[in-house]
């Protein structure tokens, strides 16, 4: 059409994003993206959140995406802008989070000349994105953006990067408003094999010691998947355990829920995995933190594995039935067959299995003793949960002991409530992720359960929270150690504590105040509840410094090279720390 308006590449980018339903961008400006920032300046539609470091933008987009199920979008400049974002993109790849990263690039004619702030963005991110693009023609901008969003959000979700040279941002063309993006070689949605679903149901019907083991794939598949999962678990009467990323897909307080499994999973979950005769894995990937020693993993079980990604099946653990497809679709089919077969109540058949599980539960593997005025970290998180459980809450975490305690003691009623870095294990994830979650849910209670070491990796994002008046709370479990490193040094390296103690730490209360947030501290047990109450009541961002006992280990634990039935529990003796081991502390 002759009267179509000419737009520049930057405007076309924004129009394409708008057409795909994007309204929030996490970013940081710089030379190579100034035309895009100029276009945003004139566009009321977008809410742009200015972070303090590009890694923060990526994690914020992850938090936004994981708490909503929508795409998270980041905008960074060339060179250091994109290299800073790489940790976040890799994190999103490992945890299957839909993220679109738009990076500026030097003008096309300068690519390859080592120009100022030039970095080979597509080369650098090839192995940490699901797909990436370098746009070389303004007429390709719209199609590329729409394809990129399609790739990021369909199939197994993941990060996509679009590298956008500055001259293309300024070149002009017409906007086509094309509705359909078609990639001939991309087939994200496999039709599940109905025969295999039938076989799976047959195995389940005859199982006497079954267990569901479900992961983040349920949450990524959407609300229908979680809902159908709950229905199927209820209909079968089977026990269920969740992976770290799968927490919330099944209600955490339900009696059929065994808690999280894996290296720091509950005794009952791991023993059930070891003893089961039929294992139904839906949307989890047999990660090494879950399997422990491979030969000894669920040795008596027929294994069913349902995953949308064909590479997950038979990668780490060989399975008996592998079904490729979307969790919601397959769960609906399973539920349909189960109902149609009018399978009679499994209660009697399953009773010995549940009796066994209940004796494992009696071990109370998450038990701890809070016996004096020093705050136990487990107790601090337990109290936090007790005080927020009736509220509309979201939890993010950093990485380490506090992360595992949060996963153990906080029960999630619904999906999308728990944002944590599982696959990559990125210290510094929690605070920026909380920024993204709070932007998506401005009226909810968003808490980053943090450690004093992790939080310092992306501390600067508290400034973002203050700028946008995001009332997020940073709940620091402060033991002055990199607790998980210390724990492994204790258990695996002869108690030689090499470089795991932080002899200097900021005063987190003063730091909060310096940033314009509120700072609180609890040093003694008697102060804990009051501080949590005050934190929740405060309308703005808060940093809470909880000084906890220093030597606490995270239990239960599957030690190195061990199987699920060889867990270390809290009551087991641990080695004495020698003078020599502390010599450098």
């Amino acid at each position: 059409m002759a009267n179509k308006k000419m737009l520049n590449g930057a405007e076309i980018l924004l129009q394409s994003l708008k057409d795909c339903g994007v309204d929030t961008i996490f970013g940081y400006p710089g030379g190579a993206v100034l035309p895009i920032y100029d276009a945003i300046y004139n566009d009321e539609h977008f809410k742009h959140i200015l972070v303090r470091h590009e890694q923060g933008a990526a994690h914020a987009a992850e938090g936004y995406a994981r708490s909503t199920g929508k795409l998270g979008v980041i905008l960074v400049t060339s060179g250091p802008g994109v290299t800073n974002a790489i940790t976040g993109l890799t994190d999103a790849l490992l945890d299957s989070v839909p993220v679109l990263c738009i990076s500026g690039q030097v003008p096309t004619a300068l690519i390859g000349t080592d120009a100022f702030q030039e970095a080979d963005a597509t080369g650098l991110t090839r192995s940490c994105t699901k797909h990436n693009y370098l746009v070389k023609d303004v007429n390709e901008v719209e199609e590329t953006v729409k394809q990129g969003i399609q790739i990021a959000t369909t199939g197994r979700p993941g990060p996509v990067l679009i590298d956008f040279p500055k001259d293309i941002q300024l070149a002009k063309t017409e906007y086509n408003d094309s509705k359909k993006s078609y990639i001939p070689s991309y087939h994200p949605k496999a039709k599940p094999d109905l025969d295999k679903i039938q076989q799976a149901i047959d195995l389940m019907e005859n199982a006497v010691k079954p267990v569901f083991y479900t992961g983040g794939g349920i949450i990524n598949s959407g609300a229908k998947a979680s809902k159908t999962l709950v229905e199927l678990v209820k209909a079968t009467g089977f026990p269920i355990t969740n992976t770290l990323l799968g927490l919330g897909a099944y209600p955490g307080e339900d009696e059929q829920f065994l808690g999280m499994l894996g290296m720091h999973g509950t005794y009952e979950a791991n023993m059930a995995m070891h003893g089961c005769d039929v294992l139904i894995n839906i949307g989890a990937r047999f990660d090494d933190r879950v399997t422990g020693r491979i030969e000894a993993f669920a040795p008596f079980a027929k294994k069913i594995h349902i995953d949308i990604d064909q590479t997950s099946i038979d990668k780490n653990i060989a399975v008996d039935i592998g079904i490729i497809g979307d969790a919601a679709e397959i769960l609906l089919e399973m539920k349909k067959i189960w109902d149609k077969k009018s399978i009679k109540s499994q209660d009697k058949k399953l009773k010995p299995w549940w009796d066994q599980i209940n004796t494992w539960r009696e071990k109370d593997s998450l038990g701890y003793i809070q016996d004096n005025e020093d705050i136990k970290p487990q107790y601090a998180i337990d109290r936090l949960y007790q005080k927020i459980k009736e509220k509309d809450f979201y939890i993010t975490t950093e990485v380490g002991q506090h992360q595992m305690w949060a996963a153990q003691y906080i029960k999630f009623p619904t999906p999308h409530r728990f944002m944590t870095s599982g696959g990559l294990g990125t210290m510094g994830y929690g605070l920026p992720a909380a920024v993204g979650v709070q932007v998506a849910h401005p009226d909810s209670l968003v808490i980053d359960v943090a450690g004093e070491a992790s939080i310092q990796m992306t501390m600067q994002e508290i400034s973002t929270a203050v700028q946008y008046n995001l009332p997020l709370k940073v709940f620091i479990i402060n033991n002055k150690w990199m607790g998980m490193v210390r724990q492994w040094q204790e258990l695996n390296h002869g108690c030689r504590y090499s470089e795991s103690y932080s002899d200097a730490l900021p005063d987190f209360v003063k730091l909060a105040e310096a940033y314009g947030a509120k700072g609180l501290r609890a040093e003694k047990l008697s102060e804990l509840d009051g501080v949590i109450d005050e934190m929740i009541a405060h309308k703005g961002p808060v940093i809470v410094d909880i000084l906890v006992t220093k030597q606490e280990n995270c239990f239960p634990m599957i030690p190195s090279g061990a199987a699920h039935n060889e867990m270390i529990l809290n009551e087991d003796p641990i080695p004495e720390t020698s003078e020599e081991g502390l010599a450098k502390v």
Binding site: T122, P184, T311
Partner: protein, 199 residues
């Protein structure tokens, strides 16, 4: 490494070591049809290096310029489990249409082309030419003391010829890499064309 040593590493490393079931590696020729886009080959090769797979031979070229389809052939080694994982990983790449394991079929044709330069005079030259002739290789260029022969055939035939020519003055070898195809009624290339027409 001895089993005990591996156990000790597993004890400390906190990563489970996949069990070794004693299965030997086999060689496979994998042919991919791919979208002819910037970086497609880099993605394929990057996948092999990132996941610790072997590339023994590689060839790539455009086979349909108009539709932008290229063919990449890689010869690799691994246990059946590893080969299956390689196939799935490759198929997961956005720009890959399909992966065909040519080695799995009885009706396979696997060929290479090599250019071989010989530096020889007199008796050695005669002998080289006789050997080349018996392999149905032919001379494509000649000079005073060197000449180039061209041969195509199964990789093993070419390896044999090269080893026979070695003592007679082998001065250089260039190979195209493996090309493989299955002679069956199913043709993935036709499938792709059909699919593209439909949409």
């Amino acid at each position: 490494m001895e089993n005990q040593e591996l156990d000790a590493i597993e004890q400390i490393s906190h990563y489970p070591i996949p069990p070794d079931n004693g299965e030997a590696d086999t060689r496979h020729v994998l042919t991919m049809l791919a979208r002819d886009k910037t970086g497609t080959l880099a993605r394929v090769i990057g996948l092999f290096s990132a996941r610790n797979y072997n590339v023994d031979s590689l060839s790539a070229d455009n086979i349909d310029v108009e539709r932008g389809i290229s063919c990449i052939t890689i010869t690799t080694r691994g246990t059946n489990k590893v080969i299956e994982q390689i196939k799935r990983q490759l198929e997961r790449l956005i720009d890959i249409h399909c992966v065909i394991d040519v080695s799995n079929s009885k009706d396979r044709v696997i060929r290479e082309l090599a250019l071989i330069k010989i530096r020889a005079k007199g008796q050695a030259r005669l002998e080289a030419l006789t050997i080349a002739n018996s392999f149905r290789a032919h001379v494509v260029d000649g000079a005073d003391d060197t000449f180039i022969i061209e041969i195509s055939g199964a990789p093993r035939k070419i390896r044999t010829l090269i080893s026979l020519l070695k003592p007679l003055g082998l001065a250089g070898v260039v190979k195209t890499g493996t090309a493989g195809m299955i002679n069956s009624s199913y043709s993935p290339f036709e499938e792709i064309l059909k699919q593209e027409e439909k949409s």
